[in-house]
Subunit: 344 residues, 4 copies
C-alpha cells in the first residue's frame, strides 16, 4: 500500500535527522537566539540575494499565517484572499479568532486574480460609508495554491501593482514553496518572491523538515516586535535551534531545491500517465499535488494499492482525488502507481 | 563553561532521537490521528491508572496554556493565578490576546494559596454588581512553580476544595511536572494530579523531549471540540506522530520519571553545597531549579566557569541567580560546580 | 427638500419625548435595574404571550448583534448568514473583532434560504477534517432584510427545521421588525417570532424611539450572565431606564405597531406610483424601504426635491436608489413624492 | 428618601430635554455626520483653545475606554493603570475581551503615581526577555479618580514626563471631568488636559446629559480610522446628533462647568458637616463623591432618610459609604442630609 494522500506523512530528510544527532550533545541559547538560527537565516539569505530581511522560524503554517497577519493589521483592517484560501477554509477561523475579518474573492484555478482583488479594493474605495466596512489592507495568497497551481511572475506583478496603487501589503504563504520553485515552467525564484512580498514563508514541514516554516519579513514596518507576536501566539519554540538547524541543513547546499524539484518531476511522470489514459486533471498544474477526476471503476482499482485523498466531485459527478508526491517519494512507488494507471 | 541557565538548552534524550530515526522511513496519518499518538496516550494512561481521559499532544507550554484555558472559559469569565504565574508574567499576554482576563493573587514561595484564592472568589460572590466584573472560573497553577516549589497534596486539596465549593475548574501547568514528581518529599503522583485537576499537562520540552507537552483532559465537559481549538490556536502539529512517539518513548518504560528524578538529585547535591557555604536559597525547593543569593564576589567567581541566570535581587541587595539541572545534566558538570562552590 | 434616505433621521415619537420629560425629575436605579425596564419588558411580553423570556435593552443594532452572538458561541463555532447580512457587510467586522467567523450563503432577495443553509451545514457534517473548519452553530437573519423583504412563516419554519435537525441556534435581527409586522401580506407575528427564535430583537432606533433595541432571549441556555456580556461589550447604558421607558411607551398601548404599519402604508402608496410609471422595484417588498431602478433623467428630476440613497446599479446599468418611509414620515411629503413620480 | 448612591440616577438637565424637543421635528444625517455634532465639537474646542483635535461622541464610558485603547495599541502592547482603575475593576474585562493586557500599579488615594508608573516601565526596559512580556505603551488614568480625588497639575506633569521619556501614550478618563474641573483647589483646566493627554474624554452621562461622552483625540497618530473603530465596537450611535446636541447644550454657554461646580460645592457642604462630626473621609477629596467611614449606629440613622452606597470597610472595621452629589442635586436635599449628620 502506497500513501499519496498528503505531503507530510513522513519524518524528515535523513540529513536533518543526522544534524539533530550531531548537535544533540551541545547546549544552546533558547527561543531562537542561537547560532543555528543565525546560520539558517544566512543560508536562506544567500538565495534571496540580500541581507536586509528578518527571518523567523515558526513551527507550522496556520500559526505563521495568523501570527504575521495579526502582527501586520489593525482591528479595522482585513485580509483579502481567494475563497479557497487556506486561511479562509482550513484554519478553523484562526485569523478571526484573533479579531480580523477576511474578504474573499472568487478564485481561478485556486488563485486570486488581480481583477478580483481590484474589485474588492474598488468597492471599499468607492464606499461613502467606509467606517461601516473593514479596510482591505493585506493580500494573502499561497503559491503553490491549495490546488497546486503556481502564480506566474506576471500574475504576481499584476497583484503587486494593485497593492502598490492602494497601499496594501502582500503576504505569500509558501507552505509548498519548494514545489513551486521546482515546477516545470515556473518563472519565479526566491529573489523575485522577496522583491514582491512584504512577507512570505518558506515551508519546511512539507518540504523535507520534521516541522518548521521560515518566515521572511521584507517590509521594515513589519519587523519590530515580531518576536513578541510569535511568543504571544504560541509560535516561539523553546528549543528554537531545532528549527534553525533544519533550515540550515536544507539551504546550506541547496538540498531544499533539489528534493522538491525531484518530487515535481515524479508528479509529472504520474500526470503524464493520467493524461495518456484520458483522465482529466482538475486543474492541471506542475507541482507535487495531482488532482484528477476518476470514475468509480478507476477509483476502485487504484484504491487497491494506493491511499489517496477524496476532494469532492467534478461537474460530471466523477470523484476528484489528490495524489501527492513529496521529498520522500520513492521512485519505485511512482513506478507502481504509473503501472496501475496504465492498467486502467 | 557549563550551562545551567535553563532546562531546555539541549536536544532530547538519546532514546528519542533513536525512535525518530527508526520511524523516519514510515508514513503516518497527519494531525495526531496516528498510531504513535495512540501508543503515547496509552503509555501515559497506564500511570494515571485510568483510561477515561483525553490526551492531546501540543508543542509548547504557552500554547497549551492559552488553548486549554480559552477552550474552557466564556468571555465573561476569568482565570485566577498567583501573581508570578507563568500565564501572567511570561507569555506576552497570550491569554488576554484571545480575550480573557487574569485575576492575580499574591503568591507564597511562588505558589497560589487556598486562602488567596478564597479571597478572590469571595469578592466576586459578595459583589452586588457582578456584571461589572469577571467571574473567576478557572484556577491556573504550575507545579513545580516558577520558583521550583512543589504543591503538597494538602495544598492541592485545599485549592480543590475551594474550586468544588464555588464551581471553578482546576488547571495545572506541568511544564516541569517530572521534576516535581521526582522531588524529595513530594507526596503527589500522577494519579493524584489526575484526580484533582480538570486538565493538566505533562511537560516534555523541559523533561527529555525535543519539544512537546501532553495535555490530559479529565473533565468531560472540556473534551469536545478540543482538537478544533488546537487547530485554531496553531497548536496542531501536521506530523503529530512526532509528539506521540516522543511521549511513548518517555512513558513506555518510565524513562520520564527516571531522568527527571536524577536531575532533582543532582540539584540536591548542588543545594547541599550551597547550604554548607551558608548561601541562602530563595526559596528553598527540591526540584531541578536552584535559586540562590550570591554576593558580588561569589557571583564573579562562579561566573568564570558557569553560565547561570540572573533573577533580580533579594531584600539585602544580593543577586538572585538560578542554576537548573535537567535530564541532560552531566554528573561531572555537577562535580565541577560543587567544587567551585566549595572553593568560595 | 424631503429626506427619504433612511429611517433614522428624526428624533422620536412625541410620546417618547413626553415620557422623558415627565420622568426627568425622578431618580432611578442604574444599569437597567429600574422599574421602567421592568414595565417595558412586561409590555413587550404581553405581545409575546409569554413571560418565560429575558428582555434586555441595548443601545444599537451592531452592538446587539455581536453581543448576543459572542455570548452564544464558543471560539470554534461560527454564525451563518446571507452574504448581504448586516453582520457581514455593514458592521466593520464587529463579530470577527470579538473572535468569531461568519459563514455566508448566497442570498435570495436579501434573504437566507433553508437550502443554502442546508448546504453549509452539510459541508461541515460531511467533512472528515472538522477540526480544520468552524462549526456552524447559529443562524443570523434579519427580517425585514437589508433589502426590505420579509421572511414568510413558511421560510422561517424551513430554516428552523434545519436548525433543529442540526442543533443550531436561530437569531433574528429585528432592527426594522415593526415594519415587517405591519407589512401587507406578512403572516408572522411577535408570538411566532418568539416561538421560532432562540433570541431576537425588536428594533427601536428605526421604529419610533430615540435609540434602543429590545433583545428577547427565549432559549434558557443563553440567559445566564448576559448582563455581564452587555457590560463587557459596552452595551449597558448607565441610565438604563431611558431604554425601558421608551419601550414601555411604544408597547404599552400598541403605538409601535400603529406607527410602523402606517409607514408601510405610505411606502405602498409610493410603490404604487412607481409601478404605475413602470419603474422597476428591486426587489419588490411591502415594508418601509423602497428599492427602485431609475434612469439618469428620472433620478435627476426626483433629486430636485428629494434626498434618497444611492445603492449601486442594476444589471441594465440603471441606478438603484432607496426611499425610506418611517414612523416620522409626513403624509404630505408622500403626496409630494408621488406627484413628482407621476410627473416623470 | 433621598438618593445619593450615584451620580447617574436622574435624566438630564432641563435645557437638554428642551433641545431634544426643539429639534425633534427636523431630519439629520446619521452616524454623527450632522450639524449638531459639528456645533458640539466647536463649542468644546472653544474651551480647549484649539481646533486641531478630533472630537467624537460616544455613548458610555466603558465603550469609550476600550474603543480608544484598542484603537491605539497593538496586540503586544499593554495599558498601565492604578490597580483600582475603572478599566481594571469595573468593566467586566472589556479591554481584555478585545485582546489587550492591563498592567496595574498600586494606587495612592485612587491615583496612579509617576513612581509606580516608572517602576513598571523600568521593569520592561531592563528585561532581557522583552518578547515574553507586553510592552507598556499607554497610561490610563481617571481624573477625578474612582475615589473622587483629582490629579494635581504637578502629578499629571510627572506622569507625562514618564510618558514622553518612554514613548507612552496618555489617556485620561474624564467620566466625571466636570466635577474635577469645578473642585476647590483644582489647578487643571481643559486646556491643560488637552496639552497633556494624547486623548481624553469629557463625561456627559454623569454631568448633565442623558448619556454621552465626548472623546477628544489630540495625538494625530490616533485620529485616522477612529470612526471605523467606533462602529466596530458598537459605539457609533445611528442618531448621532442626539449626542452632539447634548454637548452643544452643555458647552455653548458653559452650563457644563456651572452645574458640576455647584455639585462640588454641595458636596463640600456635606463634607464639612461630616468633618465637624469627626467622621473620617477616606480619602478626602473636593469633588462630588464623598467617601466616609460610618459606625453601625451612624449608618443606621442616616439610612432612614437617605440611600447611599456601600463600599467596603476601613481598617478599623467601620463601613465605608459613598454619597454622591450631581448636577441634579437639590439644595434642600443637601440641607436634609446635613441636618441628619448633625443629629448623629
Amino acid at each position: 500500500m502506497f500513501r499519496w494522500n498528503n505531503d507530510y506523512n513522513q519524518g524528515a530528510h535523513p540529513a536533518i535527522l543526522q544534524a539533530l544527532q550531531q548537535t544533540n550533545q551541545y547546549a544552546y541559547a533558547g527561543y531562537g537566539l542561537d547560532e543555528w538560527c543565525d546560520k539558517g537565516s544566512l543560508a536562506i539569505k544567500k538565495y534571496l540575494g540580500r541581507t536586509d530581511v528578518d527571518i523567523h522560524f515558526l513551527i507550522g503554517g496556520t500559526q505563521t499565517n495568523y501570527t504575521l497577519i495579526s502582527h501586520a493589521l489593525r482591528p479595522w483592517q482585513s485580509a483579502v484572499c481567494a475563497d479557497c484560501g487556506h486561511i479562509n477554509v482550513h484554519e478553523t477561523g484562526a485569523l478571526e479568532h484573533v479579531g480580523l475579518k477576511i474578504l474573499t474573492a472568487p478564485a481561478k484555478d485556486g488563485k486570486l486574480t488581480a481583477e478580483a482583488l481590484h474589485a474588492i479594493i474598488a468597492a471599499y474605495r468607492s464606499s461613502n460609508t467606509k467606517e461601516h466596512i473593514t479596510e482591505p489592507k493585506l493580500v494573502y495568497l499561497s503559491s503553490p495554491s491549495e490546488l497546486g497551481t503556481v502564480y506566474a511572475k506576471s500574475e504576481l506583478l499584476a497583484i503587486k501593482h494593485e497593492c502598490l496603487q492602494n497601499d496594501l501589503l502582500l503576504f505569500i504563504d509558501g507552505a509548498r514553496l519548494g514545489y513551486g520553485l521546482g515546477a516545470k515552467g515556473n518563472d519565479v525564484d526566491l529573489k523575485t518572491v522577496a522583491s514582491l512580498a512584504d512577507a512570505f514563508y518558506i515551508g519546511g514541514t512539507k518540504c523535507g523538515a520534521l516541522f518548521g516554516e521560515a518566515l521572511v519579513i521584507v517590509n521594515d514596518a513589519l519587523k519590530k516586535h515580531f518576536r513578541a507576536s510569535m511568543k504571544q501566539n504560541g509560535g516561539m519554540l523553546a528549543k528554537g535551534w531545532l528549527l534553525g538547524l533544519q533550515f540550515y541543513t536544507l539551504f546550506a547546499d541547496g538540498l531544499y531545491f533539489e528534493i522538491t524539484k525531484k518530487a515535481d518531476e515524479q508528479a509529472d511522470r504520474i500526470r503524464d500517465a493520467l493524461i495518456k489514459k484520458g483522465i482529466p486533471l482538475c486543474p492541471e498544474n506542475r507541482t507535487n499535488q495531482i488532482f484528477a477526476s476518476l470514475d468509480a471503476e478507476q477509483e476502485k482499482i487504484l484504491a487497491q494499492g494506493h491511499i489517496f485523498e477524496q476532494e469532492g466531485y467534478d461537474p460530471d459527478g466523477r470523484k476528484i482525488v489528490r495524489f501527492c508526491t513529496s521529498w520522500s517519494t520513492d521512485e519505485t512507488a511512482v513506478d507502481a502507481l504509473i503501472a496501475d494507471i496504465e492498467s486502467l
